[in-house]
């Protein structure tokens, strides 16, 4: 490995643009599943699998990535990532409440839909004011647990600079923010107090930048201008690294929200190149995502044969996958706090948009409670209780037994070959191997079970397999 690295450097190739060698490159079926799970949080349909696997064109991976990034499913999955760190939830003690949650989600989604550059989106959030129901971005300031300039500033530092411990006095830029309640239940106006006299202290940011708030103006503006400028490289770096973390489950700087001086990037050159690219492309989030998905790392085989480290699927993805496999989806509603919210049938849990709307399964697999803005709040470790659910839950067993998808598979062609192939396409997004089909045949013979029962056992087994539980 070291020899190769040296070789690459001496030849002058950057790690980033180097194509994975044929032996390191993951197969098409692995790539397809990986791309779908990473970008959309959903499994590809059996039709999509077959279409992609049978496609002979050379640039089919790139086309697939582009399509997924721009798909509704893809953007809504990105919205979930944003919701996690912006703490979108209607909680008690309350900050947002259902109306605010909906407005806030919609606003972020529109930013993603229109591919609003990252710097512009952050300006929209930070310079927001008005009613939390009518000016959705203003929920940014309601979403935090304490309403003090210090706390706003600490969270802005955490979110956009990866700084967990800010020592400068930039919070003064947020000291005009005030809240005024209305007679409407949980509606509140976020407004700036323009009569507040400008702070007498000099505002000196960590990098030495001096800001001078002027009486009667919005003091957040000079700060936000500094924060989102191209010269403030850290702002771009943190986003690049966060996106890397969303894709690989591990940041180049890790934890992704901990950029203290002694927490060094594992690959500084990679980080620098991606950051240059992101800034040069005018903070284009989709372009950044595409760039990352075309890296050698993302196209590589799973470790230890390649660079891709398998990650356990997030709670929402597992729960939705079971929905799409069986064709029986969990229905969601929110009865507390009022007003009640009923989600349409077949709503994906990745699209709930509210951390308080949940299910036993989502909680079991570690849905983020959105209590803090740290990425580390998502816990994807596999526990014995999660395996207990997969192994022996009656609720899950019933869904497999009643699955219209499985019944259709069985009715289409009741042979062990056809069934195992169709199930494997649905659950593992690939075709069954000859060896596997032989194993299923042997299982059917040995157990003496009717074919439908064998099919149920195959679904059970594949859902329990680590090939299903991991993005690999």
């Amino acid at each position: 490995m070291r020899l190769r690295t040296i070789l690459i450097f001496t030849v002058g190739l950057s790690l980033l643009t180097a194509q994975a060698t044929a032996s390191e490159r993951c197969s098409d079926e692995v790539f397809l599943r990986r791309a779908y799970l990473t970008v959309t949080g959903a499994l590809p349909s059996p039709q999509a699998c077959e279409k992609f696997l049978d496609n002979e064109s050379a640039n089919k991976r790139e086309r697939l990535i582009e399509r997924l990034i721009e798909s509704e499913l893809g953007m809504k999955y990105m919205l979930m990532h944003w919701g996690d760190i912006l703490r979108i939830k209607s909680e008690f003690p309350s900050n947002l409440w259902p109306n605010g949650v909906q407005a806030y989600n919609r606003w972020i989604y529109e930013q993603l839909l229109n591919n609003v550059p990252y710097d512009e989106m952050v300006r929209g959030l930070l310079l927001s004011e008005g009613s939390n129901f009518r000016e959705p971005a203003a929920n940014f300031y309601r979403g935090f647990q304490k309403r003090t300039p210090q706390n706003f500033y600490a969270n802005i530092n955490l979110l956009f600079l990866g700084n967990r411990d800010c020592k400068d006095n930039g919070h003064l830029c947020f000291s005009q923010i005030n809240f005024k309640s209305t007679k409407e239940w949980k509606e509140e106006i976020i407004y700036l107090d323009y009569h507040k006299s400008a702070p007498w202290q000099k505002i000196i940011l960590a990098d030495g930048t001096r800001l001078t708030p002027i009486y009667g103006e919005d003091w957040r503006e000079p700060y936000v201008k500094w924060l989102t400028s191209r010269e403030n490289r850290r702002f771009a770096e943190v986003m690049v690294n966060r996106m890397w973390y969303w894709v690989f489950g591990r940041g180049i700087v890790h934890e992704p929200d901990d950029w203290r001086k002694d927490n060094l990037p594992s690959d500084p050159q990679l980080l620098a190149e991606l950051t240059d690219y992101f800034i040069a492309h005018n903070f284009d989030l989709r372009a950044l995502m595409k760039k990352i998905l075309l890296t050698k790392q993302f196209n590589s085989k799973m470790a230890p044969d390649g660079d891709f480290v398998a990650q356990r699927l997030p709670a929402e993805v597992i729960v939705d996958a079971i929905g799409s496999i069986t064709g029986i989806w969990t229905t969601y509603s929110s009865r507390v706090p009022e007003p009640f919210t009923f989600y349409p049938p077949r709503t994906r849990s990745t699209q709930l948009g509210d951390a308080t709307v949940s299910s036993t399964e989502l909680e079991l697999f570690g849905k983020v409670s959105r209590d803090v803005s740290l990425e580390s709040q998502r816990n994807n470790t596999l526990t014995s209780r999660q395996l207990l659910y997969l192994m022996n839950s009656s609720a899950l067993e019933r869904r497999i037994r009643k699955s219209p998808n499985l019944q259709r598979i069985y009715q289409n062609n009741p042979t062990i070959e056809a069934i195992s192939n169709a199930i494997t396409l649905r659950v593992l997004s690939r075709r069954a191997t000859q060896k596997e089909i032989a194993m299923y045949k042997e299982y059917a013979e040995k157990s003496g079970l009717p074919l439908m029962e064998v099919a149920i056992d195959i679904v059970w087994m594949q859902i329990n397999s680590n090939e299903f539980l991991y993005n690999h």
Partner: protein, 424 residues
């Protein structure tokens, strides 16, 4: 300054509590979700006229001189020496969400931090000492959707919901009892999985977790949930209702050493048809709760098991006869009642008083944090201690207990707990 004060308090307390021997090992919370009417249960107002007592004009005299409870609770009336009643609980919220939050977390501070439920706190406090195979905090059959959360402690300490129907022929406990799969079938499936799985992802770790689960599914724990192990007479004693059989499950879990069991009965939010609903629900409650307390007592478990019964608030003492309620009771958090028994709580006593109409606290207000704090003390947990928050550092376990502007106090009068000198 304030922090130093807390620290001093904690130090003093650590010394005080270290010496106290605690009796309680487990808690059973019989939670009447929706808010039961205190005037029809533990704090009757028979002399206030039909607008207040409605259909229930009478009362039950209990076996303790001077204590009367609702006329629909005759079985509980025969055993008032086993439990005490708190008739002056108050948090002032008339909304479900705020009421639940107050009663389940003890936090009425109005602060912005989301507190964990007290079951989760107990689970957290016992994380090193509780070695049982069963989860530390179990809900029969499900926890209230959101306020039994781990709060800032995180999901690790949340309740394990059994699901299923304890009153049905087979009680299907999620992940443990699955009627479709025999042991033989499961072993066949596991063998196929073993053959199929060759990928290196965490293979060894997953396999060892699966082995633990096979033991969990087919070992002794399964039998804890099997109500067929109980004689029919015992099952009848609790009543064949969901609540009755859930209480029986709770007793079995406590017997097996589980520290916190939450039995939740829904349907108490009786805005309309109040008395019709009470006519079926109160006898179920009477039977189940009296059987639970008596059964624990007979088995020598009441001494070490705290039993609590109540909801997120009470209901308006005055009946709403007008349309659209047509004889209903609305939410009421100003004054309501809880039953407490066992684990160091004395029996045969009444704490606090509501006024003549039952619309105000007349004597000795009890805040949710006073009740939960006393439960903590009985379990040997310092109610003035702290809990770790991911970004805020250590926070007080019961912030409302430190609020001296609101009247209240831990329930020393119905326990043998000693009031620390600094509190007086």
């Amino acid at each position: 300054m304030r922090r130093t004060l807390y620290l001093t308090l904690i130090l003093v307390l650590a010394v005080c509590f270290g010496a106290t021997a605690q009796k309680a090992k487990s808690v059973i919370l019989v939670y009447l979700d929706g808010g039961p009417a205190q005037t029809d249960t533990f704090d009757p107002k028979p002399n206030m006229g039909r607008d207040y007592h409605g259909s229930y004009k009478g009362v039950c005299k209990t076996n303790v001189e001077g204590i009367e409870i609702g006329e629909k609770l005759p079985l509980l009336a025969q055993m008032a020496d086993k439990y005490s009643l708190i008739r002056s609980l108050t948090h002032g919220s008339h909304a479900h969400e705020t009421g639940h939050y107050a009663m389940i977390t003890g936090d009425t501070s109005g602060g912005a931090v989301v507190y964990p439920s007290f079951g989760a706190v107990i689970s957290y406090m016992k994380r090193d000492t509780y070695k049982g195979v069963l989860p530390c905090y179990i809900s029969v059959t499900s926890a209230n959707s959101r306020f039994n959360e781990g709060g800032f402690l995180g999901n690790t300490y949340k309740s394990f919901d059994t699901g299923g129907k304890p009153e049905a022929a087979q009680y299907e406990v999620e992940g443990i009892v699955n009627q479709f799969v025999s042991r033989e079938r499961m072993e066949q499936r596991m063998a196929m999985l073993g053959e199929f799985e060759r990928q290196p992802m965490n293979k060894q770790e997953i396999d060892s977790l699966r082995d633990i689960n096979m033991e969990f599914i087919w070992g002794n724990t399964r039998e804890v949930f099997n109500l067929h192990n109980e004689p029919d007479s015992v099952r009848q004693r609790y009543g064949k209702s969901r609540l009755g059989q859930s209480c029986l499950v709770a007793r079995r879990l406590v017997e097996a050493g589980v520290p916190f069991v939450n039995v939740r009965m829904t349907g108490w939010d009786t805005h309309k048809k109040h008395f019709q609903k009470m006519n079926t629900m109160l006898p179920q409650l009477d039977k189940a709760l009296s059987a639970l307390i008596a059964d624990l007592d007979e088995r020598g478990l009441l001494e070490s098991t705290i039993v609590l019964c109540g909801g997120e608030f009470g209901r308006t003492p005055k009946i709403l006869w007008e349309a659209p309620w047509n004889g209903g009771r609305a939410h009421f958090g100003t004054v309501f009642s809880y039953l407490v028994a066992g684990g160091g709580f004395h029996g045969g006593k009444v704490v606090g008083k509501s006024d003549k109409t039952g619309e105000k606290v007349a004597e000795r207000p009890v805040r949710p944090c006073d009740l939960i704090g006393t439960v903590y003390m009985l379990l040997g947990i310092d109610p003035y201690g702290t809990l770790p928050h991911a970004s805020e550092g250590n926070l007080p376990i019961l912030p409302s207990l430190l609020d001296t502007t609101k009247e209240g106090g831990l329930l020393y009068e119905i326990t043998d707990l000693k009031q620390p000198s600094y509190e007086k």
